[in-house]
Amino acid sequence: MRFWSAMWAIFWKDVRAEFRTKDIFTGMLIFALLAVLIFNFAFDLRVERAKEVLPGVMWVSIVFAGMLGLNRSFILEYDRGSLSGILLAPVDRSALYLGKMLGNLVFMVAVEVVLLPIMMVLFNVNVLQPSILIFVFLGTIGFAIVGTSFAAIAVNTRAREVMLPVLLLPVLVPVLIAAVKGTANVLDGGTLGEQMSWLRILGAFDIIFLGIAFMTFDYIVEE
């Protein structure tokens, strides 16, 4: 039971801290909206083309906004030194990882909850269908799984803001491809079979990397 209560404790600590100020959430959201806006100008997204480009635009915005949130999850602790305090507790490190990961996941989902309806209105495309939402969810989980591990690493390096994208993006390629193509497939009215293939890749990614993250987190935070 120690494991689960530790995990929830860390999770709620992060959520409550964010609730008080909401600055990271707002920052992520504004950034995502600005990204969408800039894409609008960059690709001249008239209504007809919006459907083609929307999956890519959506996911790029989510990924870059997500990176802001990931940095936050460890920077505050690192700078304030509270990480060592947490580590002194005789608890499985993976509980720390899971708590952080869930926190990151919840923040990203919160941003998506606001972002997606706005995009729906802006682009006139229904993105709130269940088949799309499941891609969004699984993709975000994948992002949170790998992102939390790498944020824990990156926060300990020089040039930490640069390090996180450099480490994260190449590894996230399968998630990006599967999420974007899966979403596009749904919007284009593709077959269920094709969507299942993409979902399988997303699922495999999530499971495999969750396992690796679990196995390696101890090594990342041991100090």
């Binding site: 790998v146 591990s149 390090m163 390629v173 890749i201 990397f209 390696t216």
Partner: protein, 251 residues
């Protein structure tokens, strides 16, 4: 007792000889494949011996990095970290070589310097992945931490490669390529006569040996450099305790 010429130097010579022999095999011994159309493509096919060879080197290097990373995390012996780092360097260098040589071969064969076919795209991402690995190593000052972080990232990176490949391949089969020219999925397959096959085998073996030798040389330097910094630290500690010797400058 200065070691002028040791075992490793001997191996380097052996590797060099093999390389020269391989050049003969690939360029002279191996004939032009009979089934290719133009003179240019027939000549260009010879690149393949080196292209595949570098592929073998880069692949072995990355596998070595993975195994060394895991072994470091398990045993915590700096030796494995040195191996991981050396292997990554070799992997990146020869990975880039694979991409460049492939590009040089593609130009006459498919009339394009680059395509986004699954293998090529995955190879590019893999090279970027391990460049990121080296950047990570660069960004951490503490050696123990650096080794740990690098090992963790190495594990993630290696596992991501097959998944990346599968996702890109799925992308390519569901959405067929739209840019023109010949079908990038055909490898420009050439007839494998016996001479050609021999040249290939020779190439593979040569490059494997070259990889091994390069790795050993690089690892040895890495280990010796670690001893150097360890000795320097001991020296500093002794000096700061007030031994009466002039301080030695650092570089």
């Amino acid at each position: 007792m200065r070691r002028k010429f040791g075992l490793l130097e001997g191996l380097v010579i052996v590797a060099a000889v093999l390389v020269v022999a391989d050049m003969y095999m690939g360029l002279i011994y191996a004939p032009d494949p009979s089934n290719l159309q133009t003179e240019v493509t027939r000549k260009a096919q010879h690149i393949f011996y080196y292209h595949m060879g570098m592929n073998v080197m880069a692949g072995s290097a990355l596998l070595t990095n993975f195994i060394a990373s895991v072994l470091y995390l398990v045993t915590r012996r700096r030796f494995w970290d040195a191996v991981a780092r050396s292997a990554a360097e070799i992997g990146v260098i020869f990975g880039i070589g694979v991409l460049v040589s492939g590009s040089l071969w593609a130009r006459p064969t498919w009339n394009a310097w680059w395509t986004w076919d699954p293998r090529l795209t995955t190879a590019t991402i893999t090279v970027l992945l391990y460049i990121a690995y080296l950047m990570l190593r660069n960004a951490v000052d503490d050696p123990g931490r650096r080794a740990r972080f690098a090992a963790v990232y190495g594990a993630f990176a290696f596992v991501s490669v097959p998944i990346t490949f599968m996702s890109i391949r799925l992308w390519r089969t569901i959405h067929p390529t739209v840019f023109g020219g010949s079908n990038p999925n055909a490898q420009g397959a050439f007839a494998l006569g016996s001479h050609i096959r021999q040249a290939f085998m020779f190439s593979m073996v040569t490059f494997l040996i070259v990889f091994f030798v390069f790795l050993l040389v690089r690892v040895r330097l890495a280990l010796v450099e670690e001893r150097l910094s360890a000795v320097r630290e001991t020296l500093d500690a002794l000096l700061s305790r007030g031994a009466d010797v002039e301080p030695i400058g650092r570089d």
